[in-house]
Every structure is written in C-alpha cells, then in structure tokens.
Symmetry: C2
C-alpha cells in the first residue's frame, strides 16, 4: 500500500508540499487537512479583495477540494482540526469543527504546515463585536462586509505591519476614514525609520489618520459592539476595528505533540524540513528557518518562504534529497502609489545581529529626467563597515520600481559587496531607468564612507 502522507494546513506551504510530492511520485497517497473552510487561497490577495479590486473571494482560491482531487489526485478535508500527533500509533487525533466529533486519522508521514496566528495585544475591549484580525479568507470576507455596510464610515486599524498597512490602504481606497494606530514611532518595522517615513508621507497624502508612538489603551463600546478607540486621553469614534499587532508561529499542534521548537519559537526543523519526530516534517511559517545574512534562526512571516519550504518537503516526501537554506525575508508591498521593497537586514536588524553596520539612503531618478513620468526612487543599502559586504536593502518608488529589489536579492544571495554593486551592468533605457542605476548611485555613495 502506498505511503499515507497527511499534510496539516492547506495554504502556501501545505499545498505546495502536497502538489510537489504528488507530482514527483503520483503513487503517493496525499491528504491535506485544514481546520478552516478554505484551502489553497492567496492570503496576500485579501487586501485587494477587501478593497473591491478583486470582485469575488472565489477569485483568490486556486483549488477547492473537489478540483484538487480531480486535477492533482490530492484529497483535502476542510473543517477538521488536528489536535495531536500520536507517534506510537501513527495517528492524528482530530476534531470535526462543525460537529465537535473526535476523529482519528492514520498517517505514515506527516507535514505540519499550521502557519501563524495573530498576536493578541494587551488592549481591553478585544471581545467587542466588529473587532477582528485578518489572517484568513473568512476574516477578509467579514471585513469586506463591514466595509460595505451602510453607515460604516470609520475604521480603526491597530498596528501598522504588513496586514495593517494593506488594510489601511484597501479601506481608504473604498472611501472609508482610516485611523491607523501603532505603538512604535514608525509604521512597518520591516524597514528602517527613514524608509518608514516615506511610507507615512504616502499614507497621510491619501488621508489616512496616523497615530504613532502612542499605544491604544482600549476599544470602547457600550452595547457589545465596538464604537471607539481610546489612545492616551483621546478617543476616536469608529464603526469597526482591525487588529494587526504581529503574528506568531502556530505551534499548538507541535507543542501538544511534544515536537521541539527552535529558538525563534517556531518548530525546529533540519534543512530538509524534518522535525525531531521521525517521519514528521514541518514547513511554512510554523517552521523555523535561517536568515541567510545573519545566519540566525528565524520565524519567517512570508508566503514566498513558506512555499519554498513546502516545495523542499514535497520533494523529500517523494524521495529526493532537497534542502532549504534560508530566507532573506524579501517582500514588496503596495501602499497607495508606492512600492515598498525590502530584503536582508535593516540597519536596526544588522546592528542587533552583531554586525558593524552602516547604511545610506539615496534618492535618485527612476527614469531619465527628461522622460515623461520621471519620478524618484529611494534606495537604502545596509552594509558591513570595512568589508563593504551588502547586508540588506530597501527601495521605495512607483509601481515600475517594485521588482528592482530583486537585484539586491541576487546580490545578497551571492554575497556581493558595494564595489560589485557599483559596477553591475544594469539595464538602461530612458523610459525605464537612468544611465547610472539608483542602486549604483547608492553603492557609490556608500563606498565614499
């Protein structure tokens, strides 16, 4: 009989692992188990669905269980939560979400892809109605309903991380008044303060009300429904509230099954994705990874990293010997008319990681100055003093500059230095760039340090 492979979690990592394993070895018996209602959807697409840019939530879904079975030969079971791995009997203790029935699911090999959970801030009033986090498709559907309900004109977004920023952008685009709160002095901790300021300008330019450096004390509401936000001595009336104060790896299943976690709090895995429990893999945001620049263990929050981990585990399930070496935590976000890209370490992260680091932030033209539409692009390069090794980069510009961060991704991966960057033979044409690329200009400024 074929090896029974069970994959817990039906998104980026889980779906990729399942598809890759089945593709390489069609004889495998692969089942995906998912606690929520949906599998195989783009969580990154939620803000655009909320904003109405994508008409139906179904558009975000690549496969529903019947199609997955039919086209890829992979079984999927939604609404089933896996509570515990019983390694001695090779079964999973599960609960049917709808009925509460307990079910046992046998497996030969297992992949834990339980992803992440939103953190809960220390704020009173989180239990009020119309207060929600946005970490699943169901939440996105609910936010869209709230945003479109007549009378709902004001929304609080508590926390300006990836999700908070994207929701602020999407909801402001729908014409709502957005109040964006963060207890830190700047939005988006994935970039340095000077780059965050560019993002803040863009948010303000589009009418988002920013409240930075002052923590939300509580959510107000007399009738069980949120009606306001209290910050310092002020309070602001709102019709609903979204919470994004960060995420943490969803390791409940691992912990309950006594599968060891790593230093980052995510499930410890080797480079093939194997946990300390025989025949049990973990992949995606719940599984620890390594930062390729710092070499330190990391809880990655990105779908791209999750998919790559899933692919590696899928290949290993099929008998290959694949390894995943780590992440640069590369991301790009659209915040109104700005593309905000980042990769590797920020200056703050580099210093925290023990590097003798320095950085430059350079504003340059994104295309020939005489060309219609010429605009500016800001490039931040983080580098090691003395050696000039590149440690990270951040870029902010218009949509056409979004994927320029990838040049720095390749450079970081190959451990290029500032001197190499300055000499890169980058592409130029007046509609697309400048004779000296902004990356080169920034590298040359950094070299003068």
């Amino acid at each position: 009989m074929a090896d029974r492979i069970v994959i817990v979690g039906g998104n980026a990592a889980g779906m990729t692992a399942a598809s890759r394993a089945k593709r390489l070895d069609p004889g495998l018996d692969v089942t995906v188990v998912e606690a929520s209602r949906f599998i195989s959807y783009s969580i990154c697409g939620l803000p655009y669905y909320v904003a109405g840019l994508i008409p139906r939530h179904e558009d975000l879904i690549s496969f529903d269980p019947p199609r997955l079975q039919q086209e890829r030969g992979i079984r999927a079971k939604t609404g089933l939560r896996v509570e515990e791995v019983v390694p001695s009997r090779r079964v999973l203790n599960c609960v049917e979400m709808e009925t509460g029935d307990r079910v046992e699911l046998p497996f030969d090999r297992l992949v834990i892809c339980t992803g992440y959970l939103p953190k809960r801030p220390g704020i009173r009033g989180l239990e009020l109605a119309n207060v929600l986090t946005v970490s699943r498709l169901e939440h996105g559907i609910k936010v869209r309903e709230l945003a479109r309900a007549s009378g709902n004109r004001r929304v609080a977004v508590v926390g300006a991380g990836y999700v908070g920023l994207m929701m602020a952008h999407g909801l402001a685009g729908l014409g709502l008044q957005v109040f964006l709160f963060d207890r830190h002095p700047h939005v988006f901790r994935q970039v340095d303060a000077d780059v965050a300021e560019l993002v803040e300008q863009e948010l303000r330019r589009h009418g988002v009300h920013l409240f930075l450096g002052s923590p939300v004390r509580r959510l107000l509401g007399d009738n069980g429904v949120v009606e306001g936000v209290e910050v310092g001595r002020e309070s602001y009336p709102v019709d609903f509230a979204l919470i994004d104060v960060g995420i943490r790896p969803n390791v409940e299943l691992a912990e309950r099954s006594r599968i060891p976690l790593g230093l980052s709090g995510a499930v410890q895995v080797d480079e093939r994705g194997q946990t300390a429990m025989g025949g049990v893999y973990a992949a995606g945001n719940c599984a620890e990874t390594i930062h390729l620049v710092s070499g330190k263990p990391l809880f990655s929050t990105l779908g791209t990293t999750a998919a790559k981990q899933g692919r590696v585990v899928g290949e290993n399930l099929a008998g290959w010997r694949s390894t995943f070496s780590g992440t640069l935590e590369t991301s790009v976000e659209k915040v109104f008319d700005l593309a905000v890209g980042r990769t590797g370490l920020t200056l703050r992260q580099a210093i925290q990681s023990g590097f003798q680091a320095d950085a430059v932030l350079v504003k340059a033209r994104d295309r020939a100055g005489y060309f219609p539409g010429s605009d500016s692009v800001s490039v931040k390069l983080v580098f090691e003093k003395g050696t000039g090794r590149l440690l990270g980069g951040q870029m902010v510009g218009d949509d056409t500059t979004a994927k320029r961060i990838d040049t720095l991704v390749a450079a970081l991966t190959a451990r290029l230095g500032l001197d190499d960057l300055a000499k890169l033979d980058l592409a130029y044409a007046p509609p697309y760039g400048t004779l000296w690329d902004p990356i080169q200009i920034a590298a040359n400024v950094a070299l003068r340090r």
Copy 2:
C-alpha cells in the same frame, strides 16, 4: 602647471571621464573636444524626441559648453575634429569643421572617446536626399523634421537593430506608415529568434510593415530624393529612409595615430583604459572591452558600458587605480507596449563562444492571475549544460517588467547557477508579481533538462 588633459568626444564616455577626473582632482586642466555641434546629450533619448514625447532637443542635453565650464570647470570645444595624435610633440592635429582651418592642440594626457560610426550597407541609392542614419543629435533633429513635414507619410527603416526598432516605434507612434526591412530572418540580433518573434508580433500589432529575410537592393529616386525601396522584385514608395545596418567602432583617429586595435576592431586597452601609446587612454564604444561571460574581447555598443569605462579612466586620470572588468551587454528597449531586456549571451552567442549551451523560454504571469492588469512575461534563460551555469537571459513583458532583467545581471555577475536562481528569495505581492517568480519558474524548467 597642471596636467593638460584632452578628451576627444563629448558624450557618455568622454563626459563621464572628464567629470569624474575633474571632480576627484579639481586642479586638473580638462578640455573636451567634439567634432559635432553638441556635447553631453542622451543618444538613447533620440527616438522619444523623434516621436514627440520629449518636446525639445535641448531637453536631451545635460550640459552645453558654457554650463560645463561654469558648473564643472571643464572646457569644451565643439566643431573641432581631431585628426591625429603626434606623440613625439604631445600635440593633436585638428581641423575646425566650419572653416577647415588646421589647429594644433597640446596635451599631456589624452582620452579617445570617439564612439561609433554607422555601417554603410551595400545598397545603391544611399546618396539620395532624405536617406539618413541616426547616430547623432543632429540626425534626430533632421528625422523629426522629416517626420513632421506635411506629405511625408511613409518611411523605410532599413535594419532592425536597436536604432531601427526604436525609430520604427517612434515614427509609427507619430502615425507614419513604417516599412521595416532586415536582411536577417528576425529583428534585433541581440536576442534569440524565439524572443525576436515576440518583438515582431508587437511590431505587427502596431501596424509596422515587416520585411524580414529579404535584403533591400536599392533605394529608388529619380530626382535626387528617395522615393522608394526595392526589395526582391517588389518596390515600396516611401517619403524618407533611415538606415541602421549596424555600427562599428570609430577608430579613425587611433588608426591614423598608429594606436593598436584589438581583435574586435576597437582600440586595444588594458583594464585601466590605457592604450599602447603612453599617456593615451581610450574609453567608450571605440575602446575594446571584455564580455564578462565569454571572456572574449568585444566592441560594446552601449552607453552604460561607455559611461563605466569613462568613469574608470576619469579615476585613473585623477591618480586612482581603477579598473573596468567588462560588460554583460545588458540592455532594455521599449518596443510599443513591450519591454525587451537582455543580458549576457544569447543561445546563439553562447554556442558561437564555445559553450555547451542550452536554453529555455518560459511564459509566465507577471502578477497574480486574479489581479487586474495581470499579463504575461517571457523569460529565456541560457545556461551551460552539465554545470547549470547561467550564461545569459532575455525577458519580454510590459513596462513593469523592464528592470527585472537586472536580477539576472546580478546573478550572471556572481556566476550563479540555475539551482541558485530557482531558490532566490524574490519579492512577491499580487500587484507586482507571483508567488513563484517567472525567473524561478524558468530556472526550474531548465533544471528538468
């Protein structure tokens, strides 16, 4: 007295060398000598000026001689052609273009930046009026006049290289009927045939009449003015004709001065830009460079490479020890709605260079399929069989994909392989890309070979 530095040629390489030297050592006495009327303009901007996208030809000019003197302390002399270097007396024999007067110009150190010259095809009728090449600003001004003259509705473009393609695009954009001829079976020899076909589709979609694989025999015209083009047994009436059958290094001054040329036909220089004649440098398109992938000497045709060579020579003039290691011949062109990028070797070039080369061409989405405006991008990767070393890349997509070729530039520079490419932690957001980047998809297809 300060060292007298004379730079022959006032564009990308010459201006960069002059500015860099003067900036690093303000005590230097720097003179730029240019045979034509203009210095310091963007030749790459000409097609957009011709197309009317850039209102005035002055917009393409960064410095005129008075401003160059005032802002950078660099003397410039236009309309002066340097005919010969007399090394024994450290003078240049020059001719004033307007008067024909002979002039001697003393120098201590010299930089030859004479650029390139258009090739002349073996076609009868080139002497007819309204037949021109487009390699200088003066030509662009003339083409724009011709394109806007009432009654001029049809233009022949003979040769579909960089300039021919750009002119076809610009003139078709003005509403002219464009007849584009090339004796090769495909346009744009800087990309492989399969990628060229994508460009050809775009040209045809925008109404350009393409005549490929059949050489133009002659230009027709009874009254000294071009009136038609003869191809095979057909002839096509046209109102003016542009010729772009390639370019060659402008080495007249070097040859006359017995400065040795390299295998490529361009002036032989060492990595610091020094010719075989003491105190005489060469930079830019007239100076030989090395292809970073093949390691072979090359006549580069690009402004980006010219500027880098000029910068290195400028630094050496100022007493630094700078070196230029070579070029990937990276370029990107806008052909109507397509951005066409290329870097490194094409498959044809790789095979010609002696590599056991193979290639894949993959069409993938440029952003999430559900995202409005989602389109396709084509990625061609050229690689070495066995080792999987990347040898070159070509990309065709919309404007937002233009600078994606730079990811491959960094990868080629760092000698990454297909396996590295497949694992790159590239940026993703639904408006800007896909969870698996097209470069990764292509690398994975190539790895299956």
